[in-house]
Point group: C2
Chain length 331, copies 2
Amino acid sequence: MSQFIRLTMDDIARLANVSKTTASLVLNGRSAEYRIAESTKERVLAIAREHHFQPSQSAKTLRSRKSGTLGLLVPELSNFAHASLAQALEPLCREAGYQLLVMSSNEQASMETAGIEHLLTRQVDGLIVVPCSSDATQYLKWSLRLPLVFVDRHIKDCPIPFVVTDAIDAVTSLVVQAIAAGSREVVYFGGQADLSPSQDRLAGYRKGLELSGMTEQEHWVWQRDYLRPSGYSMMAECYERLGHYPDSLFTGSLTLLEGALAYINEKQNGSPAHLMTFDDHNLLNCLPWGIQSVVQDSQRLASESLVRVLKLMQGETVDSAWISASLHQRP
Amino acid sequence: MSQFIRLTMDDIARLANVSKTTASLVLNGRSAEYRIAESTKERVLAIAREHHFQPSQSAKTLRSRKSGTLGLLVPELSNFAHASLAQALEPLCREAGYQLLVMSSNEQASMETAGIEHLLTRQVDGLIVVPCSSDATQYLKWSLRLPLVFVDRHIKDCPIPFVVTDAIDAVTSLVVQAIAAGSREVVYFGGQADLSPSQDRLAGYRKGLELSGMTEQEHWVWQRDYLRPSGYSMMAECYERLGHYPDSLFTGSLTLLEGALAYINEKQNGSPAHLMTFDDHNLLNCLPWGIQSVVQDSQRLASESLVRVLKLMQGETVDSAWISASLHQRP
DNA sequence: TTGTAAGCGTTATCAG
DNA sequence: CTGATAACGCTTACAA
């Protein structure tokens, strides 16, 4: 492709009648530091502007051994929570002088592995991952090779720092509220039981029951995965088991809620009085039920995880963080 | 950061007792081509595997003048349509041997400019953009510097190839259906009138009216932007002007629909009998109205735009494409 | 205040 | 079949 040509710093230097060094110094804003003559500086800058000079990032990276990129690996970009995270993280990275590389693992451990290896090849300076496996050893190996932070999910007993939503408290208060409002039967639909968010959400649910002096009954807790059809089938089976809809239903994700509502709409045989879900979406405002939802703070999830990779990159050690969520209450 | 070390190809070569050249050949799968001894090959590969050798992408890029990356610039990652596009594009790029760099412009022309310049610095080999300005000259300049394809939106009279949804036909049939079902008043809410998708959607609406022998009345077409509050205010003003809800309402985006529904839910004074919207979401299944929606084919939008940048990168000229959308009908 | 020269890790050319 | 050696475009001691 010679159709698209680029000028190099050498070219700029030649055109401005200075050496590579001078050009480099000026173009990197270090002219003051080296007391480059104002006139020289202006000349170089003018030429550079005029010719749309773009320094080669690869040469910089090669020389400086820093790529100026950070990687973000999420299971699904079409998952609203993860998309919001990427959306929030991208400008923050740019401000911090880094380019964000976003990849998705499609919720498959194998693709995740490939993705991380790929990002390593690309020499990302740091990595933020929403892990989709719970195999700590694998991640530990990577964490020896580059700064690694988990976000949204963490792995039990794994020393890699993480930034996750404090689901427990949020879910607890939701459950407590529902019971205070008169619910006597509170059912929980969740996803993969081995994922940390699932565990946290379930723990929150159980704590809510406990605080309200209620004892968990058989067929109150259902766990499968976060796919829509699972929401549908759990609702179907739950209805069949109980013989009616529970007073209250908490779903661990929007997709599960969608599945459950699909069943409810299809059967037209009633519905739970209280609906609660993890994660929020504006369309929830438009539903005929007043759904209570837990809103994750993707802005803070993003900034806190960025701060942590940046610190790791400077050799500091960092702690993990629980980001509190807020509730979106609907009448 | 000496904490995280990497082996270079030189190291591998030394450990395997071969030269850089041989190591390079083997590691790039060109051993057959150069008839490298099987034993040598195995030795090199074994060492490389054992030491987790990661070739430096920057060195490769520098030498080969190809970065192996493609850029995707979207206005908003939290917009479902754009997120789906990114999600669909990313694996395709990887299959094609490219790493996708996703950036978002926040729907601001200035950020878009900065983003493109940034990607140029990163030496992306090609660029796929959802343009957020309609200034053709600017984009034309860039298209001289690297292969550029528009997706989702195009710019009138701009020779840059684009891949967009064929909104006209889809919207037309939606409108025709609504009228066939008895609607006598069909209102249109749209976003920025200067964006091509807006124009197409409006054109589809008008064609639908025309085909049904209906004449557009005053206060039937409302255009502002695609933000949620605009949907709310257009609904409010429309209701006030007409004195009632129209039989049918078409919204140009989910956000506008959300806004309109927020008004409707808040006032509890009725609602349009037919609701239609551009773009689809699973939560639409859960609404108490049977909303008809236009489903964009993000998979094809992604693959067709990728094909086009790849062709441009090989110096071929390419045409634009309209991707047909499907309808998601709900009872 | 500016220039010279030595790499960074690869790939490519050309000899053995 | 394998090995020197020269770029690629940039940064940075070290000179001048």
